[in-house]
């Protein structure tokens, strides 16, 4: 049991940090531009596939650097030539543009790399067990992932809190118009933030690709969870996104690891009653419920605290 707790906590932290790499970009973009970037998870997927392809060509370490840059460039192009032109048609049109992009990117990825998972391997340098707890070998690559995401988290924090650019971005989070009035080139800031946000998603993709499955439906699987994270944390709140990422990462990881059901806790139901909704619920294991846990959390937070954990701004 203790083993399960330690391993699941590590895995949960890892998943949570990955979620935060994605949700931080998403929430900053949303607060500044009012655009919910539906294609954000697609940038994560592009990162994973670019990482896979570049690893094949030039090795993992250059790919770790190049793939996010490529994804960032694509993100900037999307902002410059797509969103900026759509802005005059309102937020719904912008949201729909990113929705169409997410759809198109998934199809393009499926066209280029096929619909089945690609063989994206952990680099040989990191392919060894880092340590052994109880009887489980914990892979070094996961420690590396955790280190990278924490490093990026710290860099992001420093940039936001300590630099001039960070100051402007922070100001633009709450008062985008005022920032424009103060004479900053809001268009360029938007493009930059969009590019950096996409690049962060790209990094998440490159490092998560070998550990998770790199497949053309990975964006569609992760995208809705990201939205849950930023609604749960409170729209436009970075600390909220951080806490929500960790909470959802931990809860989902623990749920997957647990195998109990109501039937195992309270004994099976009377079999003469026949199959019904009750028996379904009674017999389902926590691991089977894991995929819907984030959405249940979403419904609960909407009932209890509609603005999210740390949210203050009504949108």
């Amino acid at each position: 049991m203790l083993e399960l707790i330690v391993i699941s906590t590590l895995n949960g932290l890892l998943f949570g940090m990955l979620l935060f790499l994605l949700s931080s970009g998403l929430t900053v973009i949303f607060s500044m531009m009012g655009v919910l970037n539906f294609a954000h998870a697609s940038f994560y997927m592009l990162g994973a596939f670019f990482g896979f392809q570049l690893t094949k060509w030039i090795g993992f370490w250059p790919a770790l650097l190049l793939a996010p840059l490529l994804v960032g460039a694509i993100g900037m192009a999307v902002e410059r030539y797509g969103l900026r032109n759509t802005h005059k048609h309102g937020h719904v049109a912008e949201l729909l543009l990113t929705f169409g992009l997410a759809f198109a990117i998934e199809e393009i990825v499926a066209m280029m790399w096929g619909r089945s998972p690609v063989d994206y391997r952990v680099p040989a340098l990191l392919d060894f067990p880092a340590f052994t707890i109880f009887s489980t070998n914990y892979p070094a690559y996961k420690i590396f992932m955790l280190a990278v995401s924490i490093l990026i988290f710290i860099v992001l924090l420093m940039v936001l809190k300590r630099t001039r650019v960070g100051l402007i971005v922070q100001a633009a989070l709450t008062h985008p118009h005022m920032v424009g009035h103060l004479g900053h080139n809001v268009g360029r800031i938007f493009m930059l933030v969009f590019g950096v946000g996409s690049a962060l998603a790209g990094i998440a993709g490159v490092i998560a690709g070998p550990a998770l499955v790199t497949q053309s439906d990975m964006a569609a699987a992760l995208g809705p969870i990201l939205f849950v994270v930023i609604v749960f944390g409170g729209l436009g709140s970075l600390p909220g996104a951080f806490i929500a990422s960790l909470v959802i990462g931990l809860i989902q990881t623990f749920a997957v690891a647990l195998n109990g059901s109501l039937a195992s806790a309270f004994g099976p139901l009377d079999p003469s009653a026949g199959p019904s909704v009750l028996t379904d619920i009674w017999n389902v294991t926590i691991a089977q419920v894991a995929p819907i846990v984030p959405y249940l959390l979403l419904v609960i937070i909407l009932i209890v605290r509609p603005m999210g954990l740390m949210g203050t701004r009504e949108t």
Binding site: L97, P224, F227, L235, P275, Y295, L298, T315
Partner: protein
């Protein structure tokens, strides 16, 4: 977009001349006549199936437009109501057969509608608290919740295989067994007409009007004493009901309901249909549903990457013409009335050539890439010309068409815009406002 959507429907309300009423009913009667005559002209099994699917898609898209076009709620989970309607209809059909209730098949879509409505009533209050982007995100979350739950609650949703049923086992009405596709088609056409009339009537009620107001300016709606939340909730329930009707029709047509009915793909398709058709006009979703269903059925046999074309068409519509096809068509109304349309047509014809070249370039590029990657070397047949995906000539012509077509087309579009502005100015001077 707001200015256009508000002005157009309201401008037709007051002071309608008598001829307009005749023309208005004429359009509806013509539509019904087309529905009756269509299977007599195209009587093959394939076209009957297509017509049935298109009919279902139209009801579904129209129900979606109650949300998107009329109330301004962008939902990413509308298929939930469609799917639950389908399941409700399937369970009802099975229950009718096993209990021997005297309910014939034509009434089943009503129960589908109730299935969609009940879920909308339960979840809607929570979902419609906020409009805009928040609503969109929540709708996506709820859709995922229902789609995932449907795989867990096996006794209701039948797991992976779904719930199947037999439409011919229900009590007969007028001696119709509903075994042949033709009878099912007429059943769908019947419900299509009823639903379309009902949904059109809904847009003319005070509720429909206040929904438009909530879409455009919820704050002012509050000032005049309505609660936007309640209005959104009621609109959401209506949309859920009609989506359920569409789902019930689908369940009758396929005699099965499974988890794919309420999945994200179905939600995306209805969004595509409605938006491509145009949300600002009642007939927009009808056009969109016809086009998207037709493309979906037609493209699958021609290309392996038909969904990519959908995505590209959708992005193109969002960026270039957010009013959809209906918006493009209706843009020409003042020009036709003022008689200035002929001045624009030459620029259209000039622009058509490079635009077509650009489209060919896009198609050739996509097909070359996809066929090379999937390892099948069968030639691309474009307007009777066969291109081999492996030959450099194909790639070169694709590049030339794509890049050259883009730059020339951009120039010609500018000419179109200029000609259009001139014609619109003349039309405005003659008193025909857009």
């Amino acid at each position: 977009m707001n200015a256009k959507t508000t002005s157009t429907p309201t401008s037709t309300i007051a002071g309608k001349p008598a001829g307009d009423g005749l023309r208005f009913y004429g359009i509806w009667l013509a539509g019904i006549a087309v529905l009756i005559v269509l299977p007599l002209i195209f009587s093959s099994g394939g076209s009957l199936t297509s017509f049935s699917l298109i009919g279902i898609a139209i009801v579904f898209a129209l129900s979606y437009n109650i949300l998107l076009g009329q109330t301004g709620l962008l939902s990413f989970g509308h298929a939930v109501h469609y799917g639950l309607g389908g399941f409700a209809a399937c369970h009802m059909m099975n229950a009718v057969v096993s209990h021997g209730w005297p309910i014939p098949l034509p009434f089943i879509p009503l129960f589908g509608g109730l299935g969609g409505l009940v879920f909308a009533i339960i979840i809607g209050w929570l979902m419609t608290k906020r409009a805009g982007t928040v609503f969109s995100m929540i709708s996506l979350g709820i859709a995922e919740l229902v789609a995932s739950s449907s795989l867990i609650l096996r006794s209701v949703f039948g797991g992976e295989s779904g719930i199947s049923t037999d439409r011919t086992a229900l009590p007969k009405i007028f001696g119709l067994s509903f075994g042949p596709q033709l009878q099912v088609y007429y059943l769908i056409a019947f419900w299509l007409v009823i639903s379309a009339v009902a949904m059109y009537a809904l847009t003319r009620t005070p509720l429909g009007r206040i929904s438009n107001a909530v879409r455009d300016n919820p704050e002012r709606v509050q000032f005049i004493g309505y609660d936007p939340h309640v209005v959104r909730y009621i609109a959401f329930c209506f949309a859920g009901f009609f989506a359920g009707v569409a789902g019930g029709l689908a369940a009758i047509n396929f005699e099965i309901a499974n988890a794919a009915y309420l999945g994200a793909i179905q939600s995306g398709l209805v969004l595509f249909s409605t938006f491509i058709g145009g949300v600002a006009y009642f007939f927009g979703p009808i056009l969109g549903a016809i086009l998207v269903t037709y493309l979906q059925l037609g493209l699958t046999s021609v290309t392996g990457v038909w969904q990519l074309y959908f995505g590209i068409i959708f992005i193109g519509i969002v960026m270039l013409s957010p009013g959809g096809i209906a918006g493009l068509v209706m843009m020409h109304r003042p020009l036709v009335r003022a008689g200035t349309l002929p001045t624009v047509i030459p620029s259209y014809l000039i622009a058509a050539v490079p635009t077509l070249a650009l489209a060919c370039g896009v198609i050739l590029t996509i097909e070359s890439i996809s066929r090379t990657h999937s390892g099948q070397g069968n030639p691309i047949n474009l307007f009777g010309v066969a291109f081999s995906p492996a030959s450099p000539l194909t790639w070169a012509s694709a590049a030339v068409l794509l890049i050259g077509g883009f730059f020339v087309a951009r120039l010609s579009w500018r000419r179109v815009a200029e000609a259009w502005d001139r014609a619109a100015t003349v039309a405005r001077d003659r008193g025909y406002l857009a």
